[in-house]
């Protein structure tokens, strides 16, 4: 297996191992919601927004951690989604399987997959947190659920019923739109901050055969061949690995091939 794919598989698992064992060795504390490795603390920007809105107060203790996380996002784009998130793969698979393809109408699918829908999802999560006074998505967030269960498993050998929320939440999208690219509000948040990400996939026009494999294998549904939504790129390298003519390179922003 390609080294890139090996790392992409092992890195999320390593993060979970660090979360489970970190406190024992006093090296790391917390979960992906807020994690301290050594003296560096990072926090989920969506969690920060929800708790700040829910408590009508900017959570000062999280300001520095969220700044670091967002700075990394501005530079590297949705690299969290591609390399660290332990939930994305599971959510995609559960979501895909939740409705047979025959029931998916083109209209519903394109509504679910348009940009405005995911913005509204993010907005309503934030609005709900502000109105209902609790961080609504944190309760059902598959990343949070996985981390908390890893912690309770390592601490006292038990897991919770909330694990079942993972397939349930995934199934809510009814197979209409893949989780990572179109639903996940944390992913949408990262996309908003990734607009200016400097390193992006660029197609070498001379080598491109216009086969569209890059678009098909992209987990984030970046239509690289035409009007690419580069803010969704998670830098997973899959498009460049799969391109049959090796036409994709990673460099500073430039105009990709337009058909």
């Amino acid at each position: 297996m390609q080294l890139v794919r090996v790392v992409r598989l092992l890195l999320p698992i390593s993060v979970l191992v660090i979360i489970a064992l970190g406190p024992i060795f006093q090296l790391a504390y917390g979960s992906i919601c807020t994690i301290s490795i050594g003296s560096i603390t990072l926090t989920c920007p969506l969690g920060f927004m929800q708790t700040s809105l829910a408590s009508r107060n900017i959570i000062l203790g999280l300001l520095a951690p969220v700044a670091i996380t967002l700075a990394a996002t501005i530079l590297l784009g949705r690299v969290f989604c591609g390399w660290i998130c332990p939930a994305g793969d599971a959510m995609q698979r559960f979501g895909d399987a939740s409705l047979p393809p025959k029931l998916l109408s083109l209209r519903l699918t394109s509504f679910a997959q348009q940009n405005s829908t995911r913005i509204v999802l993010l907005g309503s999560v934030l609005a709900a947190s502000a109105i209902l006074r609790y961080p609504v998505f944190c309760v059902v967030c598959p990343i949070g659920i996985i981390c908390r269960n890893v912690i309770s498993l390592s601490q006292y050998g038990s897991v919770g019923l909330d694990l079942l929320l993972i397939p349930m939440v995934a199934a809510l999208e009814l197979g209409l739109a893949p989780w990572c690219a179109h639903i996940c509000p944390l992913g949408t948040t990262f996309s908003i901050f990734s607009r200016k990400s400097p390193i992006v996939p660029v197609i070498d026009k001379a080598k491109c055969a216009a086969c569209s494999i890059c678009t098909k294998v992209c987990n984030m549904k970046v239509s690289l061949l035409q009007s690419p939504n580069l803010e969704d790129c998670s830098k997973c390298l899959e498009c460049s690995l799969r391109c049959p003519t090796r036409a994709i390179r990673w460099r500073k922003r430039a105009e990709p091939y337009a058909s």
Binding site: D96, A97, T109, Y156, G157, P167, C211, K216, V217, N219
Partner: protein, 350 residues
């Protein structure tokens, strides 16, 4: 939706069929429920074991101080210190008057020093200086190993208690191995003459050790009136067994325990005694006293009398006769509680 061939291939690669999804969910649910029923996924809960097991194991290579014949009265040594006399000096004098540590502890034996480190509060535990002095003295007897062990009161972390009272550092400095007996494997020992229990679960180290030096602190106790040598042996039990003693009959169980796990040498730390209330929160009184004996019952009886005297009680001996666990232990033949039959040597160092 129309899909090209490549799209189909790609789509099938990244999707899971509905059947597989349902299978996964069903498998997950069965696995979850199955594991829960097998208690694999339940949080660890301390179960108190009731009921008895029939395995009877006797101590091997035991050097037990024999119950003295009726003609020779058991001896209890009281060593009092004037101002400025160190605990080391008190301990050394007590051992000297008992015949010298070399004559008491067999060479090449494993020795357990059992102080009272049940709590985090320094007033409630054996003075670590006393423990360290005993360890240093024991080294002259050339033992195979010296273990300072304890299992603290339920709810207290033994490691933290050993550390925060200074017991660990002073005992290790003196050359002992310091152990949390609660982390030991548990073994069952039969109690043939037990009045309340017929077997008891103890720490493996305690069962297998050859020589036990019990180093309790002189204190009052809310449930047993006093906690001295006999009660201190409860620190050799796992937490679940401590609980069982309370459920069954605390005083009888203490006596039963001492009938099979009998300390060979008792040195009571009465440098500061806890009066009026215990095992915590009592009034500390400076007695600068060390009480030593080969008979744990006699040691307890004499020490309790000293405690009541320090409180200004009108009839200290009468009060001692009403301490249930001491009387039960005497009935089991572990030692002598009758004050008139105990020979006491009272010395003062200045």
């Amino acid at each position: 939706m129309e899909r090209s061939e490549t799209e189909e291939k790609v789509a099938s690669r990244i999707s899971v069929s509905r059947r597989t999804f349902l299978k996964l969910l069903a498998a997950g649910a069965v696995g979850f429920l199955g594991a829960k029923s097998l208690d694999l996924l339940s949080p660890r809960v301390t179960e108190i074991q009731t009921g008895t097991t029939t395995a009877t194991v006797t101590k091997t290579a035991t050097v037990t101080a024999t119950i003295p014949p009726a003609s020779k009265a058991p001896g209890v040594i009281l060593v009092r210190g004037g101002p400025g006399v160190s605990s080391q000096a008190l301990v050394e004098k007590a051992l000297e008057l008992l015949g010298g540590i070399e004559k008491l502890a067999p060479p090449g034996a494993g020795v357990l020093v059992k102080p009272n480190v049940g709590f985090y509060d320094k007033d409630a535990v054996t003075d670590p200086q006393i423990t360290a002095a005993i360890v240093r003295a024991l080294r002259r007897a050339k033992p195979a190993r010296i273990v300072v062990g304890e299992s603290s009161v339920r709810g207290n972390d033994t490691e933290h208690a050993l550390r925060v009272t200074g017991t660990r550092s002073l005992a290790e400095e003196a050359g002992a191995e310091v152990k949390d007996l609660g982390k030991d494997p548990t073994v069952t020992v039969g109690v043939p003459k037990g009045g309340a229990i017929s077997s008891v679960n103890v720490s493996k180290t305690v069962r297998d050790i050859s020589y036990i030096v019990n180093v309790p602190k002189l204190k009052r106790h809310s449930a047993t009136v006093t906690t001295i040598s006999l009660k201190n042996m409860m620190g050799t039990l796992p937490d679940s067994e401590k609980g069982r003693f309370h459920q069954v009959n605390l005083s009888q169980c203490i006596a039963d325990l001492n009938s099979v796990i009998r300390p060979n040498l008792v040195i009571i730390d009465a440098t500061k005694a806890m009066t009026k209330r215990g095992p915590t929160g009592g009034t500390m009184v400076d007695l600068n006293l060390v009480i030593a004996s080969l008979d744990p019952v006699a040691a307890d009886a004499v020490a309790a009398e000293e405690l009541f005297k320090a409180e200004g009680a009108s009839d200290p001996r009468g009060a001692v006769s009403r301490i249930e666990h001491i009387q039960r232990a005497a009935e089991l033949g572990i030692g002598v509680a009758e004050r008139s039959k105990i020979e006491v040597l009272d010395v003062t160092l200045s």
